[in-house]
């Protein structure tokens, strides 16, 4: 800031905090259907501590520069999955991406995730994504009487699907998948991950049904093992491996 030198004599503490800051350009893909049919890039140059996250930068822009900037966020700690966006060409959670990890010397691009309808700025219509999620029946299905106590499971049985329980439904994987970009009928990695979570759960009894659903023409066989989903997942889930395990279960079930 231009006032930094003026403040120096009286506010030493404020100055040392300010000196951490660097100047970063955020190049944000803006779209507002109420103004224009075209999306465009807008640059915001802000002073920010590089140890802050991209989400903090977006806050700073929204709160201090341009209140019309629109994005989703809720928990701000990588748990709710609302702020997946394409940052420097890669899908990440804005709340888990530190500015210093992004080469702040160059403009940092921020845009909405791909393959879903952009409604405004960084907000997309998640409905097709959640429709695919609903279509794999992501809930426990059992038969018989409900036990009086909990449904017991060995530690090894729990471990079998541990990786896929970590999904926060952020859509970073599905919206990084080139098959999904071109054909929204494909279930997408996130739906398969959440089907995997129940297919390999020893307490669940509808694994067969879910396998049957994913055996269809828009199911797991459309996966090209591009590994974009594994790279994108902010929870570190081995998404492509989960998909491969579903494929394997389908083949061993058949032969």
């Amino acid at each position: 800031m231009s006032t930094a030198t003026v403040e120096k004599p009286e506010a030493g503490a404020a100055d040392s905090a300010a000196s951490h800051k660097i100047t970063v350009t955020f190049r944000i893909r803006r779209f507002n259907p109420e103004i224009s049919a075209d999306a465009s890039w807008q640059d915001f140059v802000i002073d920010i501590d590089p140890k802050e996250r991209v989400l903090d930068a977006l806050h700073q822009i929204k709160w201090e520069e341009d209140g019309t900037l629109t994005f989703r966020r809720s928990c701000a700690h990588g748990i709710c999955g609302s702020d997946a966006m394409r940052i420097n060409g890669r899908n990440r959670l804005a709340c888990k991406t530190l500015i210093k990890d992004l080469n702040p010397a160059k403009p940092i691009t921020v845009e909405a995730i791909k393959g879903l309808t952009v409604l405004k700025d960084l907000i997309v219509d998640m409905e097709p994504f959640f429709q695919a999620y609903r279509d794999v029946m992501p809930f426990l299905i059992t038969s018989g009487n409900e036990p009086t106590r909990e449904r017991r499971q060995s530690a090894a049985d729990r471990e079998r699907f541990d990786d896929t329980t970590k999904c926060i439904l952020c859509a970073a994987c599905t919206s990084s998948c080139p098959v999904f970009w071109n054909d929204g009928q494909y279930f997408g990695p996130a739906a398969i991950v959440n089907a995997h979570r129940f297919i390999f759960d020893s307490r669940d009894e509808a694994g067969e049904q879910r396998l049957e659903i994913l055996n269809d023409k828009d199911g797991v066989w459309r996966c090209r093992t591009t590994f974009n989903c594994t790279d994108a997942c902010p929870r570190g889930i081995e998404v492509t491996k989960a998909i491969a395990e579903v494929k394997q279960a389908l083949i061993t079930r058949r032969f």
Partner: protein, 161 residues
């Protein structure tokens, strides 16, 4: 401080008044092709895609040997490509072993390639009509080539001249 990219569209100056958008009259959003909805068709309960996927892997392995063997024999060993003539082909097809080799290679390569093309069409053709006609073209070409090749292998006459 904020620096705005002045990204006025090229037609900015000549914009028709009717193209102005407002909260009451928002611009259309761009929907991705073939989005999933509640009306997306349910499972067809066939194993076609499973067998297709397996076929690609298994035929791929076989084709590696068949094609590399074929290329070696035709182009590298024994004087290379200059030795290939009508008499050379006639000599090879006198043996049922080479007939079988070429027949299997023809069928596997054509089906492998056609299935790969089918996948590509599924991935890239956005409109249902485009999909349909591209696939019609693909299946016609594939059937024609397979039938013609098979016919030649079985009805080959070395004394044709």
């Amino acid at each position: 401080m904020t620096t705005e990219n002045t990204t006025t569209p090229a037609s900015g100056t000549t914009a028709v008044e009717g193209e102005r958008y407002s909260p009451e009259n928002p611009a259309p959003v761009i929907e991705p092709p073939r989005a999933r909805t509640t009306r997306t068709p349910r499972s067809t309960r066939t194993n076609f895609e499973l067998y297709g996927w397996l076929f690609m892997r298994l035929s791929g392995i076989l084709l590696v040997f068949l094609v590399i063997g074929h290329l070696l024999i035709q182009l590298v060993l024994d004087g290379g490509v200059s030795k290939v003539s009508f008499a050379f082909v006639a000599g090879r097809w006198a043996s049922p072993f080479w007939m079988a080799w070429d027949l299997i290679m023809l069928w596997l390569a054509m089906l492998h390639g056609a299935n790969g093309m089918r996948t590509i069409i599924n991935d890239y053709a956005q409109r249902d009509n485009t999909r349909f006609w591209l696939k019609v073209l693909l299946y016609t070409a594939t059937t024609f080539t397979i039938l013609l090749g098979t016919l030649v292998i079985f009805t080959f006459d070395p004394n044709i001249r």
